[in-house]
């Protein structure tokens, strides 16, 4: 049975009708047309669907929409502030840390939250923070460099 759920995504509150087992990822992509969050495995392993829920990185494919009413959800579409890219987005660009781009949204959100907690991370701390996001193209090097670059510029 469908039930109305009130979700706050990127600061905007919407009422969506969804089933009890409907995941946040499905609502984001199919109902709210926010397709920046990607479905890579639907099992929580690849990390391409990572979003922030009350600021913490979570798998939107493992999060039931009905279970996060009232919480603040940030997707890649809502990350830039006032149209300006976040430092991690700019650092990803400047480090050429994107190939196919399918993992990029999840990677950026995970890194953004990490940099908010740790403004001066070591390479190993960055590697640990990103270890739940699979990239099959890059071999990770340039992504790790991008996170270090964003940190050196003093921002998330």
């Amino acid at each position: 049975m469908s039930q109305p759920v009130t979700l706050t995504v990127n600061g905007k509150t919407s009422d969506v009708s969804c089933g009890a087992t409907t995941t946040l990822l499905t609502v984001l992509r199919d109902t709210l047309a926010l397709t920046g969050s990607k479905r890579g495995c639907n099992q929580g392993v690849c990390g391409a669907c990572t979003v922030l829920v009350d600021g913490a990185p979570m798998r939107s494919c493992l999060t039931l929409a009905a279970n996060i009413e009232g919480q603040n959800i940030t997707t890649i579409e809502g990350l830039p502030e006032g149209g300006d890219l976040k430092p991690i987005q700019q650092a990803i660009i400047d480090s050429d840390a994107v190939q196919c781009g399918f993992c990029t949204s999840g990677m950026i959100l995970t890194a953004h939250e990490f940099l908010q907690r740790n403004s001066n991370p070591s390479i190993d701390e960055i590697r640990t923070a990103l270890s739940g996001n699979i990239c099959r193209c890059s071999g990770y090097r340039k992504i790790v460099d991008a996170v270090a670059l964003a940190a050196s510029r003093g921002g998330a």
Partner: protein, 772 residues
């Protein structure tokens, strides 16, 4: 315009599409939709080998929201295949592997389609399942393709029974070569199937117009191969299908030949509505394709001084249920099986055998990593027996500039020596034994060399000059994430001396793009780049014809100046592309369009030199080279090995975009590292046991060293665009071999089987301990 960064060849501008990728607005196949669109799902077979006796679709049709169910009976009898036309769009009459699509359901939502797809009942008469090439070759084995003899084959295939093809290459006098040797080493090696695991699963969306013409978007590596395969399998005229591509989330070979595109096209024809289907991860594992498991017997003869006198290689490939790219993989692996060495007497032969598994096909490296694993680890075993340094042994036998390849193919550029020298120096190879390991670990250093081609088949480019003097570049090459859109645009900008921003790139479209065989075989930079350079030369010629008339001078006196200007040499007289193009559009000559197409045509085999049969490619490509050195740490308690550091020197001719080349080297390394150490598709009887990311593990950041050093070597390819050749695969080829050699250096013995998971390494360690 002097002093302005034109972002041409040799610079590393950001990807053209970077903004959409960092903001989540890049659209991949799953992100597309059409009004009134249906969603489709497949029913997969639950047996590996069977005759189909009939279908019952009534339960599926009864699910509210279901619009159409199609089975093999609803598909035409066309067969597709890159080398052997052996594959229907969907299982028809027979099932050939567990998980093969047997029915397609279209419904108003994906959930309904998936629910209904489970309710399609197929009645089978089971046949014995062939689950290995050995079983397939056994006398009395059940035959997987009864009509193999009558299938169309696009090469002189030698096939019979379950053997899809046999290929053989001979050079010199093998027996004499081994007779000459002071030492002969022989070994057998096996490699596991690897999943491509592009993070984007395969998918397609088709729509049909009132004339019955279908437009198809899909995750792909070649809109032209998609078009050809769909039209062959559905017996459609090619003009009735237009293929397009959204952004593609990685391919690595998986999206080159078809996956579900024919099913979606057939469904849109049947329903007259747009139809989208996105495979889930499990389906993507089970019914697309994977890297071939190989069994390799390799035998090498050397003199005491390390000179190789002979090599014999015999391979056995599991083809899976359909030919796909397998005959090519077989032939190519044999062609590469000597490695980049002078070996005067050699024989390489192999069999490709149908089995009841999903099709194995193209995967970055195309059979080369498997034979390199055998050949390069055998060289280390030889070095040990001879008491030689492994790199010195290789150095002694290195293929030299001017040498030809196994079979007689020309090698125009050869930067291998520079790769060896640079990797040796960067890794401090000669002092490697002084490096220590943390407590409980054993450190090893290993080397492997490689060569790989870039080339193959037909390609084109069209450049049109807009009224404002900027240009549109149209090649039809699909950028699957590796960055070819940017690289081709850079070459176009460089050739016309205009800033990169003045080049706009058309998305591949079978209606409007010139032909491009595909994003595969490390070929786009080299083959499409050449087409771009050729088309730019044509544009330059037309620009100069106009300029000569406008400036009243001879074309011979004209030159391109940076910034989109044609000027008279030694004078300040000049006109801009803008001025020329306005004239061409409105006054004289007609709009400026340059185009160039070509097909790679250097022969693979020189019949005066080599005796060969069953060769799938008459013309292969030009050669890239690499030298890879890795440091590994093996855990003494478990045998688990991690790579600590790697130095990968790669000869790419010319790095058009050095940052992208680094991305290819490091990305290829890590994918090869997964193949070497952990990745393995496992079957539980006829069923794939690990078709999920929980069970099939690829390296994460924590399993990957930070220090993977890319060393770019540029030995210009004479006919390459700006000297460039391919970079997409060469960085992966040597990885399993180099890691195997490092592990052997650490523990004192070689593991002959991929992946070198902890169990195999520990067993080898214990075996060595027991022996001493």
């Amino acid at each position: 315009m002097d002093g302005i960064d034109m972002q041409g060849v040799g610079s590393s501008p950001h990807r053209l599409e970077i903004m959409e990728k960092v903001t989540g607005s890049a659209e991949y196949i799953a992100d597309l939709s059409r009004p009134n669109m249906l969603h489709a799902a497949i029913t997969q077979s639950t047996v590996a080998h069977a005759k189909i006796l009939g279908y019952d679709i009534s339960d599926a049709m009864a699910v509210p929201g279901v619009v159409c169910v199609l089975t093999g009976e609803d598909f035409p009898d066309g067969r597709m295949g890159a080398f052997i036309k052996d594959e229907h769009a969907i299982a028809k009459d027979k099932i050939r592997y567990f998980g093969e699509p047997v029915a397609v359901v279209a419904a108003e939502t994906e959930a309904i389609a998936r629910e209904a797809a489970k309710r399609v009942i197929v009645k089978y008469e089971e046949l014995p399942a062939i689950l290995s090439p050995e079983e397939g070759l056994a006398e009395g084995a059940a035959i997987i393709h009864e009509d193999l003899d009558s299938y169309i084959k696009v090469f002189p295939a030698i096939s019979s029974g379950n053997m899809a093809s046999y290929t053989e290459l001979n050079e010199g006098d093998l027996e004499a070569g081994f007779a000459e040797a002071d030492l002969v080493v022989e070994g057998t090696y096996d490699t596991a199937p690897q999943a491509h695991l592009a993070i984007e699963p395969c998918g397609a969306l088709a729509d049909i117009d009132k004339q019955g013409r279908v437009t198809l978007w899909s995750a792909n590596q070649s809109v032209f191969r998609v078009q050809a395969n769909v039209c062959e399998s559905l017996m459609m005229p090619m003009g009735k299908l237009r293929c397009l591509t959204p952004r593609v989330g990685g391919g690595f070979g998986n999206k080159m030949e078809p996956h579900i595109q024919p099913l979606v096209v057939r469904m849109t024809q049947a329903t007259k509505r747009p139809v989208k289907m996105i495979l889930n991860r499990e389906e993507d594992f089970e019914c697309v394709r994977a890297r071939h498991p190989f069994k390799v017997r390799c035998k090498t003869g050397v003199k005491k001084d390390g000179t190789i006198t002979a090599r014999e290689v015999e391979v056995l490939l599991d083809c899976g249920a359909f030919g796909d790219d397998s005959p090519g993989v077989l032939g190519y692996s044999l062609l590469m099986s000597l490695g980049p060495y002078r070996i005067p007497n050699s024989k390489a032969s192999g069999k490709l055998v149908y089995t009841n598994k999903l099709r194995f096909g193209a995967f970055r490296g195309f059979g080369n990593p498997q034979v390199a694993f055998a050949g390069e680890t055998q060289l280390d075993q030889i070095a040990e027996k001879l008491g030689m340094d492994p790199l010195d042994l290789r150095q002694k036998n290195l293929i030299q500039p001017g040498d030809v390849w196994f079979g007689g193919g020309q090698v125009a550029s050869n930067g291998l020596q520079e790769c060896v020298d640079k990797a040796r120096a960067a890794s401090d190879w000669d002092n490697r034994k002084s490096r220590t390991a943390p407590k409980g670990k054993r450190r090893g250093t290993g080397v492997a060399l490689s060569a790989h081609i870039s080339g193959l088949l037909g390609t084109g480019a069209i450049i049109r000059v807009f009224e404002d003097g900027s240009v549109a570049l149209n090649t039809g090459a699909v950028d699957i994430g590796q960055g070819s859109d940017t690289v081709l645009s850079q070459m176009c900008a460089e050739a016309l001396k205009i800033p990169l921003e003045k080049v706009s790139l058309a998305s591949p479209d079978t209606d409007g793009s010139p032909y491009n065989w595909g994003t595969t075989a490390s070929r786009v930079t080299y083959t499409t780049g050449r087409a771009v350079v050729g088309a730019a030369a044509e544009v330059e010629k037309q620009l100069k014809e106009h300029a000569a008339q406008m400036l009243e001078c001879s074309e011979m006196d004209l030159e391109l100046r940076p910034g989109g200007i044609v000027g008279v040499s030694g004078s300040d007289k000049e006109v801009s592309f803008h001025q020329i193009s306005l004239r061409a559009h409105w006054a004289a000559g007609g709009p400026i369009v340059g185009h160039h197409t070509w097909v790679f045509n250097q022969p693979t085999i020189d019949p005066k030199r080599a005796v060969c049969s069953g060769i799938p490619f008459p013309q292969v490509g030009v050669f890239s080279f690499g030298c890879l050195i890795v440091d590994t740490l093996t855990d003494e308690a478990s045998g688990k090995t991690e790579v600590a550091e790697a130095w990968s020197a790669v000869d790419v001719g010319k790095a058009i975009n050095p940052s992208s080349v680094e991305g290819q080297i490091v990305g290829g390394f890590v994918q090869g590292m997964g193949f070497a150490l952990t990745e393995e598709m496992v079957w539980d009887g006829p069923k794939l046991a690990n078709p999920t990311l929980l069970d099939y593990k690829v390296p994460t950041t924590l399993d990957t060293p930070y220090n993977i050093h890319s060393i770019i070597v540029e030995a210009a390819e004479p006919d390459g665009p700006f000297g460039a050749k391919g970079a997409g695969e060469i960085g992966l080829v040597a990885v399993p071999a180099a890691i195997a050699n490092a592990i052997a250096d650490a523990i004192g013995g070689h593991v002959h089987s991929l992946p070198m998971k902890p169990e195999k390494v520990l067993n080898k360690m214990l075996e060595i301990e027991d022996a001493t």
